[in-house]
């Protein structure tokens, strides 16, 4: 039965992808991309990859849609027709695709128990993580402790992306006069009332995801994105000007490095205690407790950075939209 469900989902995914290629209205393309993300996430759920599905749903369907829509609002809705011939490009794409498919013949069959991925580190994680780290959600153990260094790198990459966006588009410390006339969805009374009721619930849910990453799906990445989405909802329904009044761009700008530094400081503290960078065993008298504290703190660091980076990027994009609107 699950195979049938997987097949239907994959078929819908392929159809959506093809439809996206042929639509010239970029606004519709963005909406179909939203569907694409929902389908991807549903597939991840059927594959039991809950944490990935969580991220795909919040980042792919949520934040990406908002950011792409802001981009379209600046650049225009129609795709420019290309005058070049597509033959050469098609050839290259076909060749690359063919090579990739050829490459898969050498790969082991999907789902076999003796695949290389299941033979080296995975059994060790599965066997020892309950005693070494003691978290019910093994994904969090791998992500935050065994691969804590990788996750640190990812957090730094997110932060670096923010630096790139901020230096290109700029995030102002204070709302300018440009924003003064901006009204938000003032006409939509129903929308505003419902948004106002749901925003606190969304933020609380984000914090729940943040602090329960050890037990269920979720963690800092997802929590940061959901919390940022709540403020984006506020900016969309009330107005960017009011959202900037609640959480100022300056605050967001200073908060982004705080998370990265919090993460790094855990590593430094473990080094000062005579262990390797990001080895949480030495953070408490009992190594398992140490792991637990370390993971909570670094997840918090990830959450803070992701939240502020997402909101900051939205502010930068939306600020450009309003600027284009006024001019």
């Amino acid at each position: 039965m699950t195979v049938l469900i997987d097949l239907i989902l994959l078929a819908m995914l392929v159809i959506t992808a093809f439809r996206i290629i042929y639509i010239k209205d970029l606004f519709s393309v963005v909406m179909l991309f939203g569907i694409y993300s929902f389908l991807c996430a549903a597939l991840f759920v059927t594959l039991d990859a809950v944490d990935v599905a969580f991220t795909e749903a919040s980042v792919g369907a949520g934040i990406s849609t908002v950011l792409m829509l802001s981009t379209i609002a600046i650049t225009g809705r129609k795709e420019k027709l290309s005058l070049h011939s597509h033959t050469f490009a098609t050839l290259i794409v076909l060749l690359t695709g063919g090579a990739l498919i050829y490459g898969t013949f050498d790969m082991p069959l999907f789902g076999l128990a003796d695949n290389p991925v299941h033979e080296h580190v995975a059994p060790r994680y599965i066997e020892t993580s309950p005693t070494e780290i003691g978290l019910p959600n093994m994904v969090t153990s791998v992500l935050a402790s065994y691969r804590g260094f990788d996750t640190f790198g990812e957090t730094v990459v997110v932060f670096a992306a923010a630096i790139g966006v901020f230096s290109l588009l700029g995030v102002r410390g204070k709302p300018t006069e440009l924003l003064a006339q901006e009204q938000g969805l003032t006409q939509h009374k129903v929308l505003r009332v419902v948004a106002k009721i749901s925003i606190p619930l969304i933020i609380l849910f984000a914090l729940y995801v943040q602090f329960h990453g050890d037990f269920g799906p979720g963690g800092g990445f997802q929590a940061g994105v959901i919390a940022a989405a709540a403020f984006i909802l506020y900016a969309l329904t009330f107005s960017l000007r009011k959202a900037v009044g609640v959480v100022s761009p300056r605050f967001v700008k200073y908060l982004a490095p705080v998370g990265v530094l919090l993460y790094a400081s855990v590593g430094l503290v473990s080094m000062l205690n005579g262990a390797n960078f990001l080895d949480y065993n030495v953070l408490a008298a009992d190594p398992v407790d140490g792991q637990h504290y370390g993971i909570i703190i670094i997840e918090l660091g990830v959450g803070i950075t992701v939240f502020s980076v997402m909101l900051g990027i939205f502010y930068a994009f939306a600020g450009q939209v309003e600027k284009a609107n006024v001019q």
Partner: protein, 109 residues
């Protein structure tokens, strides 16, 4: 299967029928505003029946509460979305069928 299981299966089936009808209605109804009504069948009755059907499968603990929260949130945001979309469509100049007829009459006379 216990009595609760039968009840839950019946609710799931009913939810499926409502959802399917709404989806068919998306194609059968003549204009955008009538099609919103079709989508509203799936959003309200479809969601209510399916989630209640699933809730009967739980052990009546926190999982049930989470299901009910999903239902609450869908019932809160679903109509809000439909309303805002309809309002946007009218604001964007889309006319309902009675208004179209009115306009056609005015144009003739």
């Amino acid at each position: 299967m216990s009595a609760l299981d039968y009840l839950s299966a019946a609710l799931l089936l009913l939810g499926f029928i409502f959802s399917l009808s709404g989806a068919i209605g998306l194609f059968r109804f003549p204009d955008f505003f009538t099609r919103i009504h079709a989508s509203s069948v799936t959003d309200s009755s479809g969601a209510v029946c399916i989630i209640l059907g699933l809730a009967l499968q739980t052990n009546f603990d926190l999982v049930t509460v989470k299901l009910l929260f999903i239902l609450f949130f869908l019932l809160l945001t679903g109509p809000t979305g439909s309303h805002a979309l309809a309002k946007s469509a009218r604001h964007g100049g889309l006319l309902t069928i009675p208004e179209c007829q009115e306009k056609a009459k005015d144009g003739v006379s």
